[in-house]
């Protein structure tokens, strides 16, 4: 009984055991590949971690190990390509690629990889072989021809690249296939007319190519530009019109381009809005006041197509950009429109700030001050102080030094102290100005302000006398952009100064004259400042004289002062610049 039971028990026990084994085998059969996949993934992750840690050699070893078992593993192939590229050994991937192709002859990814690697090896025949294979696998795909041409371009085989693209176009029976590639290839060959035609095909196919077309075509040399614009004018397609507008904007006529755009806007407001926004992006990337004006005009045109707060914001931005461009009349027009806009209440502070700047620039400083006080409570303190200093600058230009001083006295910032120093100087109080400008130090404000302050201090430190009203008047005249009066003033004061001060003033006057294009006067002043008793100013004068002569293409006359500077003042910090100019004057380096 017991045995039977035991035996029965054993049989009973064996059944589930066998079942468990069977189940186990079944589970293993399913899990093994999962485990294998996970192991593979772990191995790949380990290799990628090594890559990220900057150890391409170890990562490469793992990828290569994977490729021994699975030659067509794309991840391992791509990883090996990355590592070998970093190690500058890309060509070593070639055997792996050949094995991968044998293992998986239908993979176009491997073909793409093969083209890249054979491209690095600069083996045109092999590139072609893999491109042709890929083209057979994907007969409607442009990619094989794109990669083929790209690899040949990298080898500087521009003729071969063009043939590859054209072959693709022919086989795909598509006259605009690979047009972006052919356009860029034409640009590389300086063949801008062909590039233009190819870009037009590309844009007609996909309008998103327009920025690339504009960017590359805008590099066309001056001589080629009229021809390109004529071609575009003959082509009445929207793509040609758009390209013509963008290129005109980039080639120095942004306002003209804007007017062309305005004339070609469609009645549909959404479409015209898009066109205006695209143009705005273009002109924002161009420097110069003309481009700023075109930008402001575009903003205004956009504002006219909007309503509510959007319209008000665009008008405000247009006003600010018009002001930056120096078109104060247009800026005011925008601000007037803004003031009549019931939706613009939230923008009043910004509008008033812009208006204050405009009023200052127009000389209406009292009105600017009144407006500024109206928004004082809404402005951050720093912004308010900055605007107040702008006001003070306006009063200085208007000759109202008392009002400017009242502003400066209320400003305890470093910039305020510097402003006070300048005001003292304008009043002829050289000693007071010296002290204040020293207190302000060389760092506050913008770099230009700091440099200006330091140079002013350098000038007055060499002048004899604590009170020089005539100097103040001359500097004030310079600040008020009356260069003629300033130069006369500097020369008059120089006559009463010892050598160092006189030379410093003559150098300053010479620079003003050179800046005005009065070369003869500038030359006379620089020559007069070359006195051994004032070595610092004499060195400056000689450098300026050399620079002036070079700008006039009078090279032999440039060498004498520059040589004298180098020999006579060998410890001057201007010597390296003098040597540089001497190289230019003697034709020893290319003129840049």
């Amino acid at each position: 009984m017991g045995n039977r039971e035991r035996g029965t028990g054993n049989r009973m026990a064996k059944r589930p055991q066998r079942g468990r084994v069977l189940w186990g085998l079944l589970v293993c059969w399913f899990l093994l590949p999962i485990h294998g996949l996970r192991a593979q993934q772990d191995t790949l992750n380990r290799a990628m971690t090594l890559e990220r840690r900057g150890d391409p050699t170890s990562a490469l070893a793992i990828y290569q190990a994977i490729l021994i078992d699975r030659p067509a593993d794309i991840n391992a192939l791509l990883g090996a390509e990355r590592c070998l590229g970093v190690l500058n050994r890309s060509i070593e991937l070639i055997p792996a690629i050949q094995a991968a192709v044998s293992a998986n002859p239908s993979s176009t990814v491997i073909d793409a990889l093969a083209i890249r690697v054979w491209g690095i090896a600069e083996q045109a025949d092999s590139i072609r072989r893999y491109a042709e294979r890929w083209a057979q696998l994907a007969p409607q795909d442009e990619s094989p021809y794109r990669e083929w041409g790209g690899a040949l371009q990298n080898m500087r085989d521009l003729v071969g690249a063009r043939q590859a693209y054209l072959l693709g176009r022919e086989r795909l029976h598509s006259p605009d296939a690979l047009s972006p590639e052919l356009a860029q290839l034409a640009i590389r060959s300086n063949d801008y007319p062909t590039a233009l035609q190819e870009w037009l095909k590309a844009i007609n196919r996909l309008p998103g190519y327009r920025p690339s077309a504009v960017r590359t075509l805008s590099q066309a040399p001056d001589a080629a530009r009229p021809g390109l614009l004529r071609s575009l004018d003959l082509d009445q397609s929207p793509a040609a019109r758009g390209l013509s507008i963008d290129l005109r904007a980039r080639w120095g006529d942004p306002v003209g381009a804007f007017h062309r755009l305005l004339a070609s806007l469609p009645p549909d407001s959404a479409e015209s809005g898009d066109m205006l926004r695209n143009f705005l992006v273009t002109v924002r990337g161009i420097n110069g006041s003309e481009a700023r004006t075109a930008q402001a005009m575009t903003l205004e045109a956009l504002a006219d197509r909007r309503a509510g707060i959007d319209r008000a914001r665009l008008h405000l931005e247009a006003a600010q950009v018009y002001a930056e461009a120096g078109d104060r009349k247009a800026a005011r027009r925008m601000l007037t429109a803004l003031s009549q806009d019931p939706d613009a209440a939230a923008l009043q502070v910004g509008a008033t700030t812009t208006l204050v700047s405009l009023l200052i620039a127009d000389g209406e400083v009292d009105e600017a001050a009144r407006r500024l006080e109206q928004i004082k409570g809404s402005l951050p303190v720093d912004d308010y102080q900055r605007m107040r200093r702008e006001l003070a600058q306006g009063w200085i230009r208007a000759g109202a030094l008392d009002k400017a001083q009242a502003v400066a006295q209320a400003d305890s910032s470093v910039e305020g102290i510097a402003l006070m120093g300048r005001l003292r100087l304008y009043r002829g109080d050289v000693a007071g100005a010296r002290a204040l400008l020293k207190d302000a130090g060389p760092y506050a404000g913008t770099r230009a302000e700091a440099t200006g302050r330091s140079s002013l201090l350098a000038l007055i430190q060499v002048l004899k006398g604590d009170s020089l009203p005539a100097l103040g008047a001359a500097l004030l005249a310079l600040d008020r952009r009356d260069s003629t009066a300033a130069v006369k003033g500097f020369e008059r004061i120089a006559e009463d100064q010892p050598a160092a001060g006189a030379a410093a003033l003559r150098v300053l006057a010479g620079r003003v004259e050179a800046g005005r294009g009065h070369a003869t006067e500038a030359e006379r002043l620089f020559r007069a400042a070359r006195v051994p008793e004032a070595p610092a100013s004499a060195a400056e004068a000689e450098l300026e004289l050399g620079r002036l002569m070079i700008s006039l293409n009078r090279f032999p006359e440039a060498t004498e002062p520059l040589e004298h500077l180098i020999i006579t003042y060998p410890e001057s910090a201007l010597v390296p610049e003098a040597r540089r100019l001497l190289n230019v004057a003697r034709g020893r380096v290319p003129r840049t």
Partner: protein, 430 residues
Amino acid sequence: MNRRRFLRQSGAALAAASIPGILRTRWPIDAPWLLVPMDDVQTEHLKAYGVAFRVLQRGGRGEWFLNYRGGSFLLPADQITARDAALAGVRVEPLDDDRLVRIRAEIQQGNMDAIPLEKAPRVAVYVPPNAPPWDDAVTMVLQYAGIDFQKVWDAEVLGRGGLAQCDWLHLHHEDFTGQYSKFYLTYSGAAWLADMVQRNTGMAKTLGFPSVPAEKRAVAQAIAAFVERGGFLFAMCTATETLDLALASEHVDIAASFADGTPMDPDASAKMDWSKALAFQNAQLELSPTLPSFSDIDGHQVNSPLRQPLGAFKLFNFSAKIDPVATMLVQNHRDVIPDFYGLTTSFTRRTLKPGVTVLADEAGAPWVKYIHGERGQGTWTFYGGHDPEDAQHQIGDPATDLSLFPHSPGYRLILNNVLFPAAKKKELKT
């Protein structure tokens, strides 16, 4: 006046008043000699050669201290020389007789030598008319260093007197096979190529040659004769390889049909007479007219599918007392110099003639960079590559501004060659 300009200039003025200068050498100098150190303390390596050259040009004498502080120069401490050095920014060290004696003793004991420099060579550059001065490394560095040179081209080389008026000749990167650097098909339509073709065909016609390749071969032969008579030849880039190809192809057509109307002899490699060449032998010629490569002389093959990556080349160290010429040619403050491409970048060892002195090579590579040899009474030096400071130089690239590379070791090698003919003849033992 523009405010920004005013501020900028005033800032410079302030700097002038307050910042101490960088030059410490004061003059006039109370010492009989000036040492121009050429090690790392030198502030203007390239212009230092110009200073030395102008001393010789004025009838003065100097010495080249080979392997002493990077190949320093000893110059007389006259006012003109001191002034010239100061203007050029070249560092000089005043030297009294006692110190000079100590230096000479040091030179005597080490692998160094003092070579007298006594006559400025008359320098000529073979360059096409209207070529911009910034298109060729040698022209650039001669201009930068202030070394006078005359320009010669085919009419002067083949004309009466030939190259008798010059001691040292540099070959611009000319293609002496007459195939326009084999850019004819690749750059077809480019304005610069059309200009080059027109100028060369015009010159060949004027000089009475049936084709440009025939005329260029005659020029190459005249240049070889100049060396034979005792001239110093220096060539870079593709002029090195094509000069020898032109010389060795006296009886075989190696030019493609676009150049002379007849295709290249398919068996040209076997028919070359290498005894006529200066440096190379047994090269295999490139038969494809579209491939801008001439032969397997060049190891790097920059414009072909066999293009090799750039490495660095190392200058050999020669015995200054036994091999003064080779030592002069490798004077430098750097031994290892980054390589740079040219239409001919390097020279495969396999194609070098026996007896060619290798001055620099890339360790482990099958090519060398800088070679030297003799022919008759004269010498030639070949230096692969186009521009030592523009490793990947391509057509249309901006000119190199050498004031940005005043210590360029690659350019120093060119200037060693310019000054080497100034060395006293009897010292040139090699």
